[in-house]
Amino acid sequence: MSEPLPLAPVTADPLVVHPLLEERRPDAQLGEALLRPVLTAPGMGWWALVGVCAALSVLLAVAITITFVTGVGTWGNNIPVAWAFGITNFVWWIGIGHAGTLISAILLLFGMKWRNSVNRMAEAMTLFALVCAALFPLLHLGRPWKFYYLVPYPSSLRMWPQFRSPLTWDVVAITTYLTVSVLFWYLGLLPDLATARDTAKQPWRRRVWGLLSLGWRGSARHWRHWRTGYLLLAGLATPLVVSVHTIVSFDFAVAQLPGWHSTVFPPYFVAGAIFSGLAMVLSLLIPARRALHLHAVVTQAHLDALARLLLVSGLFVAYGYVQEHFFGWYSGSPYEMHVMNILRTGPYAPAFWTVFACNVLVPQLFWSARLRTQPVVLWCAALLVNVGMWLERFIIIVSPLSEDFLPSSWRHYAPTWVDLSLLSGTVGLFGLGFLLFLRFLPPVPISEVKELQHELEASEAFAHDVSVRQGGAR
């Protein structure tokens, strides 16, 4: 019998280049490390960012007040461009939300282990993005105080919404999505809230987290129910990733405007949504990883996986662009062709080619394995994709409206300061929400990381056993 072989390296699987966890620690230590951002006082950097985001949120409040008091005429919209920044922002934010659900639900169903370290942040991002998104349908109404006309409720007027309108479908899709996302996120938080409750020193924190954790004690029964429920919700959330943006795309595809009226829109929008959401996850994760010293649990493996997804969804989006222009040409309709022409060569050409560079060219960087794990490159690329996706939404919405059937009504669009304030204000609100989340809730799912550690150890032990046994046989 030979000497026992040394412990096999963590990266036993030749396909896994980077480890999912950089180091192994006892559970208690790991839990404490992951709770540290919540339990320690924030640094100057956090305060500075909160200051900036709060200022932008105040700007948002001002812009909203002006919009409500004076009217939606404070925006740059006109006839024919009756939708512009408001709907662009709405579609953009909704799209961003998709990555959270994708990571937390779809990857869960597919048993992707790497999701465990990042899903909490992605879900939180989804929620704040949805809040920002939900503002715009309300704000862009001419009479926002009558928004409830869109909701199907038994009214004494005996009036229902008009169900043929995609906007009515939007209301249903978005409220469903918001509800499921909140439930999913909260359910995932429960064990960690209990951990936080148990670790917290101050009584008030214990009380708040105690209330929020709904009496979680970590019994086997709790865990069994929780896992079932979590999986079920994941199953419920998964079709929503596809359905919500499909329905958002119906707002355009169902209309008969050249440039909008296209069957390619639903998959094209879903791909774009996931693409932009992944970019936003990267934009947030990379700085958070560095600031909160999460290198141990958010490793290069995560960056690599996200970069690959970004590349794949980017290719989907690029295919969408090709299809859109191909169908514009293939339709033979002068109206469709005109809209595609003004995108490429007309007044919206600068925006279009920026979109092309950001969304098609930039993701091609990540064919390189080395660049996929370079946080700085990834972060810059993610920001560019965010910009590109916003511009994409903008030109999809505005350029067909600007130049449709009758040239007499053609007119272009220019935003006002209120439009710009609303966009930057929601970015601020989003950032503020995310910063507060980092401060008050465990940003990395503690229980799931612990579980991951156990699973990894178990599989390593198994691999060790196998290799020992194979060695013995030899």
Binding site: G71, G73, A82, P144, D404, L406
Partner: protein, 983 residues
Amino acid sequence: MPPLTDRYSLPVLEGAEPWRSLEARQGAAPAPSPGEFPLDADAPPRGLSRRVLLELAAFGTAAAGLTGCFRAPPEKVLPYSRQPPDVTPGIPLHYATGLLLEGYTRGVLVRSQEGRPTLVQGNPSHPESLGAAGAHEQASLLGLYDPHRARAVRHRGAPTSLSQVFQMVRRRAARQDGGAGLRLLVEPTASPLWTRTFERILARFPKARVVPFSATRTGNAHEGARLAWGRPLRAMPDWGSARAVVSLDDDFLSTLTGGLRAPREFVSARMPPALNRLWVVESRLSLTGAFADERLRARPSRVPWIAQALAAELGRLLGRDALRVLGREALEPAEHRWVAGAARDLAEQGDEAFIVVGESQPAAVHALAHLLNATLHGGTVRCVDSLLVPAPDAAALPALVADIRAGVVDTLLITAWNPVYRAPTDVPLGEALGLVEDAVYCALHDDETAARVSWSVPSTHPFEAWDDGRAVDGTATVLQPLIAPLVESAVPPLELLAAFAGALATTPYERLRAQWREHAAASGGFEEEWERWLAEGVVPGTQLPVQQAAVDAASVLAAAQSLPPSGDGLELHFVTDVKVHDGRYGANPWLQELPDPVTQLTWDNAVWVSPATASRLSLVRGDRVRLELHGRSVEAPVLVVPGQADDTLTLPLGYGQRLGSPVARGVGFDAQVLRFQDAPWWASGVRLTRVEGHHGFALTQEHWHMEGRPIALQTTAARFAAQGDARLPALQAPTEHLYPPQPVPDASGHRWGMSIDLHRCTGCSACVVACQAENNIPAVGKDQVRRGREMHWLRIDRYFMGDADNPSVITQPLMCVHCEYAPCEYVCPVAATVHSDEGLNQMVYNRCVGTRYCSNNCPYKVRRFNYLEYNRGGPLDRMYRNPQVTVRSRGVMEKCTYCVQRIEAARITARMAHRAIRQGEVRTACQQACPTEAIVFGDLNQPEDPVTRLHQDPRHYALLNHLGTQPRTVHLIRLKNPSEATG
């Protein structure tokens, strides 16, 4: 909110004397037998009638200290104790009256809602209206309620009272020097009452002078008539029989300069299959030029030479050697082709052809046209006497200024609108006015003239005073007031003159009646006649006899030969603005916001340049230039307009007012600065320099090209007759649908529909204003128009086709086409836009939340959105609104309703009479206003309805038919009749 009468002491509750409404007349009111009752016995016995109000107003002005007492104190207004027989709250009454444009009257019917005038329509009985109304007549309603009207009587800037003014006037009128120091500065008018007043003043004060002043009637036509006939006649072409018309810079299709009758008769004589042919030579693209079959663009100074060449060519064709002495200047090939073609057409059509000339052309050209017309028509020309008194004379104003400077004038009464602003730049009227001891100016606004005179008096609006007037053909109309003056101290301008005519003691009403009593004397029964005149809006038997006048060929030819040669280099070209005229409508937001039919420009004027000239001078739209002429200069923005003659800078008059209404103030630039008395219409020697800056225009249509799409269709009559139009079958074909077909009503039901004949549409924009007035559509201001938020439900699209230098132009009125399968309906999430069972696409304002999805999905982009609260306004703004149409608030979508309120009104009337709605009973506002009957509305369920026949006309097509919207409004293709020689 207190009742209306508490807020405004108006004769709201008094109702109207029964004989003033058409309804009452039809409703068999017993006519009082003459002499049985004293005068006015049929007026309501107590309270203030409109008539008594005005009498008292006049009395009050005369009797010092009584001003202001004629208004009922608001707290004493009482409800009807006995309802006047005519007034049913909610049921509008219509009163016939008239409005003056350039001295002549156009008959209108004013709809009055509980005493408030709310709409101006054409008077079908009036020969110059025929039921139509132009943009200016309709928009004058807004002038009545203008919150910026002058309110205070001022003496050298300080507030004073009317009694002071009248004391001064009486003092001046009482002197015995024969009126050496008395001058009246008035606009030429055809009004019998004014004419009589001038006569009486001149009889009492033989040394006084009545000075005519008009910025747009510079005396050319008048002088031309004198040259041709030796007396002031006015040519009356027979438009109804026109087979070939040559227009020498005459914009006769514009309702402003051409009236309403000429376009109607000309277009009716043009209907297929027998089209007439219109030849136009002009310097800038006008509506008439856009309508022309053969248009020639020429610099203004070139037009007289083209007229001469035409005369020479015509002389050659007709064998009149006398004419061949003309036409000495060489013609360019394009000019030559046009002249040859026009001459041949004229010669062929003979007495069914004629030449018309615009006011801007020199007198010799007018005279020459008369001569040519006489040649064509067998020696004479159809004419009537010119009624304008005093006769237009450009030299009168400089003479007045000279008199003032010589210290001769001590009393000057000004009723002409703002002469200081409009005076030629080298006639320093403004400075001279300061030298007149008592210069009285009576006007609606505190404008440039009011600032210069010693006495300024607020004037009444034409709807607030008694007056009379005559149409171009002589038909007289008694102008009756619709409402008591909204401005307390307002005085009818004629009142200032009346004191000098020795008639201060009587009221304007009495004077008017006295004047007309003489006319009735012949037929007897004055009271009945008077009531009939008021009810019908015309005085029968006042039409002028048409004369056949021979032309003095020798003097005409002599004058034509002495015309100066055409100039070189850049030329300035002044034109009357189609919206604000010479500026007098500048205070009217409806007209300011009305897109210029050619340039689609609102709230501005601009230097029009041709594309070629613009590229030569490297100018683009919005560049600012300084124009200098003889030491005067003005800075102005440039607008590149296709169809403009090269090297011609067209400057629309009427903008850049410095004082007056804040609506007009600072809008555009003042072209008058470059207008000298010897060159009122064009001038050469201008120096153009680029200056810094860029001007943002508020254009309602920025893209002028149809992009090859079949939108506003036009073809030639010959081609259409031979083979139809290849684009039409696809636009007439039925379309398929996933949705079930719309239910078709049975024979008793209605399917409302409309047709718009592009062949009839001249683009005059009367329909736009009609729609605005009827449907409470706000004017939103320049800034909002620039942002693309104008609210007009009905717009007139204008497309250029072909060569940018001399394009073919087509205008296309477009409003909601009421699709059977409306794209707006299925995308509205709240069912705020729905289909009625009669086919109307309806807006439910209460339900609308303002997602604007409907507008996005409307392929015609005819929906309008209240981006802001556009209907905020003072109490006066509330008064002119149509109470039968909802005033929309902010955040609500709106669009053309096919005047659903009129459909419902007709339905109620019909139902009460137990009958069906009659054919033609419902007329939309746009249809009613249209001078050329291009818009027809009716019931497609009635096979005999004109609209049904037009929907089956081979020329009809559905706009964007391939989308399957199945519009209820169809357009009819326009036909052109180019000459074979040139086209």
